[in-house]
């Protein structure tokens, strides 16, 4: 794998390459990078151009108290260090993603705007990143009872076809992730430290190789534990999910502040496990706007989390690609990264999004209304993949239900993508999920009527 010159330039400007701290080569913070990137865009410059060696000329007119020309120069000189660490990280099976990458999680861009991380380091199945799922949050230090609960919760999500999104820390995070993975579910792990080690650990390795797990981190992949990083990464967990559940929280600390931040920013609808522990912060989080969820796993209606969640865009939705595509026409791939990433463009971005929702939803109408499956589409490029999927599934699963693996074979689809669409089709009441074994049955209008 080789990384594009733009990614190289962004890494040079924003990433650490060794554990040594300080010095004149302090990488730009996400906010600094946002500021600088915006200016580059205004000047119609790409980061790649900063590597041509004519920095004085290119940055003529740039003036910033913390991001001096000298600092940019120093950072850009780190090419050999970049090459050395990238060789190591890529060799270990890691990948790097920037905001202009088509697989970059759209939920992060939509929810975090300028704060969405410039660089994601990761390992494993990157397509899971856009699949959403259930965020599970809780303490590192917790009781066996809560660990068991977390594990069962993971298995429950897996059984219902939802990914678990969690932080990979010991305790609740790890238990929920392993619970899901052991039940053949899919998991997104958002790590605050030691990504490189986690990717070669015996507990995660096989799941990474089986494409059921993706581990990502916004920090230097060899970084050790850092409380600040752990706090910061909480927001990415919420923002990558469609619903969130706090297993246990104190009345301060990362879980507590992360949950309140999520409520405030309204990223993901939040549930909190019932508890008898008076010292826990669980009830205070509920008071702040979250909902209780039973401490008995069997009583949990997981589907309801997602139905009530009213997530603005499901993964099968092509909103992002359309937005990005729309802007792409005007410039390079890189400009789309800036469009979605920069503060000044948020308004414009919002407008484009709204317009798209209006205009694009119309071609959908025939599909929504059709029973027989005959669709008249204005043009091919307006057909959503998801709608096409529904048509195919309708044809296949109307007479008798089909298992996921059969569908994978017939449709020749990536399993992760298929699961995402199946999930959405269940939520949309297009498919009914049967259990033991898991199969999907198309819900015809007639059946719907009978049910009524």
């Amino acid at each position: 794998m080789s990384i594009s010159p733009n990614t190289q330039a962004i890494l040079l400007l924003t990433s650490h390459f060794s554990k040594m701290k300080g010095g004149p080569r302090k990488p730009l913070t996400p906010k600094e990078w946002g500021r600088f990137a915006l200016w580059l865009k205004e000047k119609s410059l790409t980061p790649e151009q900063l590597m041509t060696g004519r920095l004085d000329e290119l940055l003529n007119g740039w003036s910033d108290r913390s991001i001096t020309l000298e600092r940019v120069k120093n950072l850009m000189e780190r090419g050999a260090a970049l090459a050395l660490v990238m060789e190591k990280w890529l060799r270990a099976g890691l990948w790097v993603m920037t905001r202009s990458d088509p697989e970059y999680p759209m939920r992060l861009k939509q929810r975090l705007r300028t704060d969405s991380p410039a660089i994601l380091f990761g390992c494993g199945n990157r397509t899971l990143l856009n699949g959403g799922g259930l965020a599970v949050i809780g303490s590192r230090n917790t009781t066996d009872k809560e660990l068991a609960y977390s594990r069962e919760l993971g298995a429950l999500a897996a059984g219902n076809g939802y990914s678990i999104v969690s932080g990979g820390a010991r305790g609740v995070d790890e238990a929920s992730m392993l619970g899901a993975l052991e039940a053949q579910g899919t998991v997104i792990g958002v790590l605050a430290d030691s990504l490189l080690r986690a990717c070669s650990s015996v507990k995660y390795r096989n799941y990474l190789m089986a494409h059921n797990l993706v581990l990502i981190s916004t920090f230097y992949p060899e970084a050790g534990f850092n409380a600040g990083h752990a706090m910061q990464r909480n927001k990415y967990i919420y923002c990558l999910s469609d619903a969130a559940l706090v297993v246990q929280s104190g009345t301060k600390g990362g879980t507590w502040s992360g949950a309140l931040e999520n409520l405030k920013k309204q990223w993901a609808p939040l549930w909190v496990k019932q508890t008898n522990d008076k010292s826990a912060g669980n009830s205070a989080i509920v008071k702040a706007g979250a909902a209780w969820v039973s401490e008995n796993i069997k009583e949990i209606d997981l589907m309801a989390f997602f139905e009530n969640g009213a997530v603005d865009s499901g993964p099968g939705d092509d909103l992002f690609s359309r937005v990005a595509g729309g802007i792409k026409e005007g410039g390079s791939e890189y400009s789309s990264e800036l469009q979605l990433g920069s503060q000044a463009d948020c308004m414009a971005d919002e407008e484009i999004r709204t317009q798209h929702l209006v205009t694009i939803d119309q071609p959908n109408q025939p599909v929504e209304c059709t029973e027989g499956g005959a669709v008249i589409s204005p043009s091919v490029e307006d057909i959503k993949f998801y709608d096409l999927f529904l048509l195919k599934v309708q044809a296949m699963c109307s007479d008798s239900p089909m298992a996921t693996d059969e569908l994978v074979n017939v449709l020749e689809l990536n399993k992760a993508q298929l699961n995402v669409w199946l999930k959405k089709a269940v939520v949309d009441k297009k498919l009914r999920k049967l259990s033991k074994p898991v199969r999907y049955q198309w819900i015809t209008t007639q059946q719907g009527t009978l049910k009524l």
């Binding site: 780190r78 970049l82 890529l90 070669s200």
Partner: protein
Amino acid sequence: MNRTEAESLLQTAVNDPNAQFRVGQWEAIDALVNRRHKLLVVQRTGWGKSSVYFISTRILRDCGAGPTVIVSPLLALMRNQIEAANRLGIHAVTINSTNQDNWPAISQSILADQVDAILISPERLSNEAFVEEVLLPVADRIGLLVVDEVHCISDWGHDFRPDYRRLINVLRQMPPNIPVLGTTATANNRVIQDVQTQLGDIEIQRGTLVRDSLALQTLRLPGKAARLAWLAQHIPELPGTGIVYVLTIRDAEQVAVWLNQQGIVARAYHGSVEHDDFENSNLYRQHLEDHLLRNEIKVLVATTALGMGYDKPDLGFVIHYQAAGSVVAYYQQVGRAGRAINNAFGVLLSGREDQDIHEFFRRSAFPDERDVNAILGVLADHDELSVVQLQQHLNLRQGQIDKVLKILSVESPAPVIKHGSKWRRTSVSFRMDHERIEHLTQQRELEWQEVQEYIDSEGCLMAYLRNALDDPETNECGRCSTCMGEPVVSIDVDRFLAIVAGQFLKHAEMSFKPKKQVAAGAFQVYGFRGNLPPELQASEGRILSRWGDAGWGGLVTEDKHAGHFRDELVEAIAEMIEQRWQPDPVPQWATCVPSINHPRLVSEFAQRLATRLGLPFVDAIHKIVNNEPQKNQQNRFHQCRNLDGVFELSENIP
């Protein structure tokens, strides 16, 4: 920076006010300094590659760029290069395994911007600790990267090295604002194309390989004795000093001993050569290189470990005791002779054993798939394991394990990575690339065929080599034995010398150095741990013959299968002990380590030997467990464990 300014730097560097750039030198400097290009320069050794990178370094440093990093397999800069660098005011430092104590100080001076050029070996780049602790902290500011002998990054290269595979992946990640210079003197079109494919946008500059002073000759002499005799007889006739290339470490040692016995000052040189006066092999090898450089010895008897890029302008001859594996490898080795003198010789001797040795090299170039899978399987069950821990899980030689891990770890992405001293399985799936292995093996067979054609060539030998190297010019040289129509070095072999050489081969016993330490946890029954107590340590011994060797190996094999070792072997051992070894104190009694499978073979032989030496035979050791054959135990842990609780001592030992 323009040509005139750069040329004045050249004049300073070579200390000659009239010096001018050779064809291609300024073009290379211009591409690196003014355009920050990535450049591959194919020029014969002696063309002046170091001038290019030192002048470029000077210019870049004057513009405020960081230091140049030079990756070179050569242990030390040659003296003339250091002088040239000094005249340009370039402060160059070497960071390698021999000066580890100075690393912090060197790092400090690099960080303080007092260093202009840093030399490291490609092996250093595969050492995670070195990269982590030394290289990365200073890599924040590197102005130019130079890779010497860049043909090694190609699988097609005759001496592809795993360490260079790592290097190429680093080069691939190098962003466009860092200029890179790759140099080689030995690359045919296929290798150059491969390097270009692997590195992408790299510019090629190619010169001619002409070598006017070298007189080539080939000679088939199947037996080792004849070749040893030829060497002893004709090396004294050859001008100046030279190199004798051999294929194995054992041959390097053996030929060096023989030449010294015949009054020719020779030293063995190979990857693990050591000397009591030197702290480690690297230091001693550096000493040997200098020794030859200063013409203090007549001959260095070397394996291919004698560094690529070893540049001795007045080397008088290069003789191959055994044929090289490919014409490209041969050209590179023989091309060391006669760089700056008018008369030099390159003689290729070819022996009976060459074929088998190269076949072995080809076969063992890639690890066995079963070993690979076994190692990956064990690592998959753990977070991380050391090589010692792997040996406990697997009955594989440490060398086998090291080789597998080395080859796997330079894949990108790789199924294993090293963390400290431990190996970790990554989440990268792995499958042996049989097609590629098959392809490369076939390629090597073809290359070996080409060497055979060279040996028997009836046309100009130099033209044959240059043609194989895709040199744009291939005129007849008019100097080689086929152009001259007569040998350039006599092909006579003195019959008496050949007989002496034959005896020398039969007397080529080896010393046996018993282990002093046992593997951890392997002797549960006997309770040995760590170092054996002094009273249990065996003294140094002698080995008359190793399985299948050139001296007695044939007889030993035959007799073992017949179930009886002949008297000639008893006599040979007795002679070795009495005439040459002469152990002190003198042995008082003899015994043997018995075998349950062959109860008579060894003990009967030992009894006859005791009788011949006039010593009592004592049946001191009894075997009480029928364990697995020791020869199937591949590493120290398994070798130790297989012996645990197996033997018992008799009561009546003198």
